[in-house]
Structure formats: structure tokens, C-alpha cells
């Protein structure tokens, strides 16, 4: 029988170090995933003391040392197609004992919880912090999932249909309804993925996709896509160029400016809200920056037709430019 009191005492004493480990892994993942240019959300936490005790009571086969998820981390992405890119980066950044794709485990005729679980995730031996957080003591369980899969996981977390064992004991009709719900969520997940690939792309949408790819290398804050499209559609004609030419120009410009942009975003994230433009967390701000440098008169004219000049000035100031 597990001595939960001893475990509780040990966890109270050791938890602060595991909190540090969780924060370190979170920042490692943030840094490594940014260059992919996809939206993602990373979180990592060390279990609360009561959660650890509950887990040990619930899973008597584990003791304090063997418990696999004293620390847990999660990466959420928007689309199923994003998952392989994220896994690729994670496996290059951290050591993982096993990768368990829950989608595969369901086979062809079952529905339910879908995520990729990476177990025994540790710092690589070459990591400068491996000495502080050695792999034989500090590891975590990492889940990678889409927003839709996260919805299922979260909503089912506090209910009886959390796992197969719980569902097995339910009346047939309830079981069927649970499965139907899981199926609906999977259909939605797959459809969002397909729609993202198949949506007809007008100029604004094409530009948004390109700019988003760059923007997500700088910030994980989700932008207001409706505003992005409105602004891009109104400013794209300022180029007098084909969409392909604009895309090439923006790609080149943003790559050249990337080190500076990184420094600006790093500072601005901690900046005073009173001086930060509302467009800081909008991908189109990168295009506005390009125009401010290369055709300031045209952007000013185009902008002022629809939007407040004071906001354009804030954008200019963000990038160290004065509107005079």
C-alpha cells in the first residue's frame, strides 16, 4: 500500500523544483516551436499537492517515484495537419521515451479521446540545464492535441465518460450518445482541417496566410482574423502588384527584418499598454511596417480613408518610425 503521507511530504518539499522544471520545459518549447510559424499554445505545470495524492490513491500500482505525470505539459494547435510539425520539433528539442498516438489506438470503429501523448519527456543530455534537471529525476508527460480534441478532453474531464472503463459500465443508450458526441467532435476536427486547406483564397486570405506564418514566429497571441482581412483587403491595392509579387516582397522584407522584429516583439510584450498599438498582435502589422518604410505617403493616404491616423502613428512608433 502506497504511503500517501510520505508522498505528500516529499511532494511539498520537492514541488518547487518541479515547478521550475515545468517552466523551463515550457520556455524551451515556446522557443523551439515559434519558428514553425503556426499558432500554438504551450502550458506546463507541476501537479498540485492534492492532485498528486488523489492520483496515488486512484492508481495504487504507482508509487511516488514511478508516477509518470507529476509534471504535465500540453501543446494545443489549431489543425490536425499541424500536429506532425509540432511533434517533429518536440522530438528534436527534448528526449522522449515513447510517443503514443491515441488516435491510432482507437482503430477504425471506435471514437473517443484523441491526443498524442509523449511519455518520459526529459531534457536532452546536451541541454545546458541537464545538470540542474537530470533526466533520471525530472521528466514529464506531454500531450499534443488540436483545439477540437482539447474541447473533448476538457469537457469530459470532470464527467463519468472520461475513459473506456467508465463508459463500459453505462447503459447502452447513454454509451451510444457519448460515442456520437465524440464522433461529432472528430468530424468537426477533420472538417476544420480540410476547410483550412480547401477554402477558396482571395487576395486578402492569401496575404493573411503568408503574414500569419511570419507573425506566429513572433507571437502566440491569436489575432482578430476578421480585422486582418478587412485591413489587408483595403491596403493590398496600394502595391499595384500581383498577389504573388506582394507575397514575395513581404517574405523577403520580413526575413530581412526578423532579428529586429523579434527584439521589438519581445520588448512590446512587456510594454505599457498605453503606448502599444492595438495592431501589435495582428499579422497585417508586418505589411503596414513594410509600407511605412517603403511607401509612407501611400500607406498614410490609404490608411486614413478608413482607420484613425493616431493608430497608424502608434504602429510607426512601434517600429521606431515617426509620422511627420
Amino acid at each position: 500500500m502506497m504511503d500517501v503521507d510520505t508522498a505528500r511530504k516529499r511532494w511539498i518539499a520537492e514541488r518547487p523544483k518541479y515547478v521550475e522544471f515545468a517552466n523551463l520545459v515550457s520556455s524551451r518549447l515556446q522557443k523551439a516551436l515559434k519558428p514553425i510559424g503556426l499558432w500554438f499554445d504551450v502550458s506546463a505545470r507541476a501537479k498540485e499537492v492534492d492532485s498528486l495524492v488523489k492520483k496515488l490513491i486512484k492508481k495504487p500500482k504507482h508509487d511516488y517515484d514511478s508516477l509518470p505525470d507529476k509534471v504535465g505539459a500540453r501543446v494545443i494547435v489549431r489543425f490536425r495537419a499541424d500536429i506532425p510539425h509540432v511533434l517533429d520539433v518536440i522530438e528534436k528539442t527534448l528526449h522522449c521515451d515513447t510517443v503514443d498516438d491515441k488516435r491510432t489506438g482507437l482503430g477504425i470503429d471506435r471514437v473517443g479521446y484523441q491526443s498524442v501523448h509523449l511519455d518520459g519527456v526529459r531534457l536532452q543530455k546536451s541541454d545546458p540545464d541537464h545538470g540542474t534537471f537530470p533526466g533520471d529525476t525530472f521528466w514529464l508527460e506531454l500531450q499534443v492535441r488540436t483545439l477540437a480534441q482539447h474541447l473533448w478532453s476538457e469537457i469530459s474531464h470532470d464527467t463519468v465518460y472520461k475513459n473506456d472503463d467508465a463508459v463500459a459500465g453505462l447503459p447502452e443508450d447513454i454509451k451510444r450518445r457519448v460515442n456520437l458526441m465524440a464522433g461529432q467532435i472528430e468530424v468537426a476536427d477533420r472538417e476544420f482541417d480540410r476547410l483550412n486547406r480547401e477554402l477558396p483564397a482571395d487576395e486578402g486570405m492569401q496575404l493573411l496566410k503568408v503574414l500569419e506564418r511570419h507573425y506566429f514566429t513572433l507571437s502566440s497571441r491569436r489575432p482578430d482574423a476578421e480585422l486582418s482581412l478587412q485591413v489587408l483587403r483595403s491596403l493590398a491595392p496600394l502595391y499595384n502588384e500581383s498577389t504573388g509579387e506582394i507575397v514575395q516582397r513581404l517574405d523577403r522584407f520580413i526575413k530581412e527584418q526578423h532579428p529586429t522584429l523579434e527584439a521589438i516583439y519581445e520588448q512590446a510584450a512587456e510594454g505599457e499598454p498605453a503606448y502599444i498599438t492595438a495592431f501589435l498582435f495582428q499579422p497585417e502589422v508586418l505589411m503596414i511596417y513594410e509600407r511605412l518604410l517603403n511607401d509612407p505617403i501611400a500607406i498614410r493616404k490609404g490608411w486614413n480613408l478608413r482607420y484613425p491616423e493616431s493608430e497608424l502613428e502608434r504602429i510607426a512608433n512601434l517600429f521606431g518610425l515617426a509620422l511627420d
Partner: protein, 344 residues
Amino acid sequence: MITSEDLATVVVRRVIFHDIPQAVKGGSAKPTLSEVETEIDAPRKGHLKTKLIKVLGSKSAYPIQFSETSASPVPGEVRGLTKQHSSAPVFVESSQRLANYLFEQRLGSISPGLLCMIDATANSLPCVVLMKLERERGGQLELSDNQEGKKTFALSVFDNLVLTDGTRLFKTSMFVRTGKGDDDFRAGACDSQLSVGSSDDFAKFWLRFLGCTFVEEPRVATHRFYESVVRFVNKSVSDPASKGDIYESLQSELKSHKKTLSPKQFIEEYIPEAEQNNLREHLKTEQVSPTAFTKDLSDIEKRLRRRVYETAKGVTVSVPEESAELVVVSPEQIIVNDSVVKVK
């Protein structure tokens, strides 16, 4: 020139103000000096940064460089402060010396105001900002004691002078250290009241106080340096061999792949020791700065070009294109109408 990247990434570390009254002959006014930096919070730092962007990022801003001939302590203080992150006492003492120096200049036409010095980083590089903020003529601003009993200006002074959008700004300059050398700086300035070169008052302020000059266009700086050295060689160097050597060194230095040319270094490396001081004096007389400049050959390209003749028996004659008339070529012979000064 200060870049937009510099301005976008400015992080203000320390700020100090000193009140500089108008210096009047025989008057007893003295600068009111802060003993400690003014502790400003994040919103005020944000506002200060925005002000700097609006001034130094404007079209009225222009590049400056340290003047070799100025007696101003500013270049030395800026070089010292940006060599490594300075401690608070070093920063305070340095700013006090500059405040006293500004006052001592007795620039009667410069209105009273506050000298603000900022210790900052731009693009993670150490930088110093100097601003002169105007205040109403009349009484001096009062200092108050901070928690440790040291004199400093209250935050309300900062708020009135910097945060008020109506404040007449001022004279501003920024120096970003880009390397270890004395001249490894990007520097820019702006005066919100005057346009470049429009006022003697303005020039006095910059030349005397900042110890800076305007940066010449690379094309102009290259042309002026070239012409001045050629004039020196023609008039002052009597030894024909030395003449040839200096001229060749000048040509090869200008044509080299190096992006910049340092007159100071050129003199040390290529001019015979006996002639070094003469050339330094000559450049000074012709107001050619010994500070390194970016090369741009567009104005002297023709003068650097050479025409090369190769004869049937393997003789090579190379002549500057501008002196091509010295060489007379006929089907049977080639004549050079010049005297031989050196045989290699």
C-alpha cells in the same frame, strides 16, 4: 545615423535632470544639480521612448559624429559611459560634469532649461541620450530630497516637461556604441525649433556642447579627402619617390574592398613619419575630418581609373586616365612625356 531599429528597441535604464539657468555675464546663477537619478516608472519610460522616436525618427533628424577638434567633454563622457554598463554614481557624476560644462559655455542666446541625460540600450547596444528641455524663463526649479536624503527633481518636473505634449522640445542627441573603437558610434541629433544650419545659436550649441559635427555625405567626404591628400602631395612632399608612394597608397586604399576609410589610420600606415604631422595639419586647415567615413567613389571614379598600354615586346605603361594626354602612341613607338622618378 540612428536607425529605426535603434529607436524601436530603446530600453531606458536611467534618467537624470539638471537645471541650467541662463548664464549672464557677472550674474550669480548656478546650475541646480541632481545628486541621484530620477526614478521613473514604466509608463513614463514608455512616454520618453515615444518622444525620442518622434524626434530622432523624424525627417528633421540628421547624423552627427564626434569632432576631433572640439574641446567638449561630451565625446569623452559618452565613450566612457558606453564602454561598459556604468554604475549609478558614475552616471550621476558624468551628467553633472556635462551640466556644468553646458552652463560654462555661456551661450547667452540659449534659453534656460533642463539637461536630461539618459543611460539606455538600443538593439541591446549601450547608448546615451542627451536632451535639453526648455522651461519658462524666471525662477529655477526646486530640488527635493529623495528617501535617502539626496537631492533630485520630483517626478512632477518630469511630468510637466516631458509628458506634456505641448512642451517645446528641445535639442536631442543619441549616441549608440557599435564597437570598441573611439569612433564606433551611430549618432543622430534633432532640434525641434531650428532647421539644420539655420542658426549660429544652433551650431554653437552642437559644436561647443556636444563636440560633434554633421556627418558629410559619403560621396562628399571621399571626394574632399582625396582632393586634399592630392593637394598635399603636390605642394608639400618634395621627394619624388615619396610622392609616388603616397599617391599609389591613396589609390589602392580608395579602391580596396574596405567599406570605410579612416584618414587617421591612413596617415599612420602610409605616410612617412616625417610627413605625418604635416598632413594632419593640412587636413585640419582644409577642415577634412580625420574620423572614418564610408567610401563612395562616384565623384572621383574617373580620376582613379588608369589606362594601360601593353607593347609588342612586353612593356607595360600605366597612366591615370586624367593624364592620358602624356602618352603619345604611334604605330611604331610609344612616348611618355614625363620624367622618371622611380624605377621598381
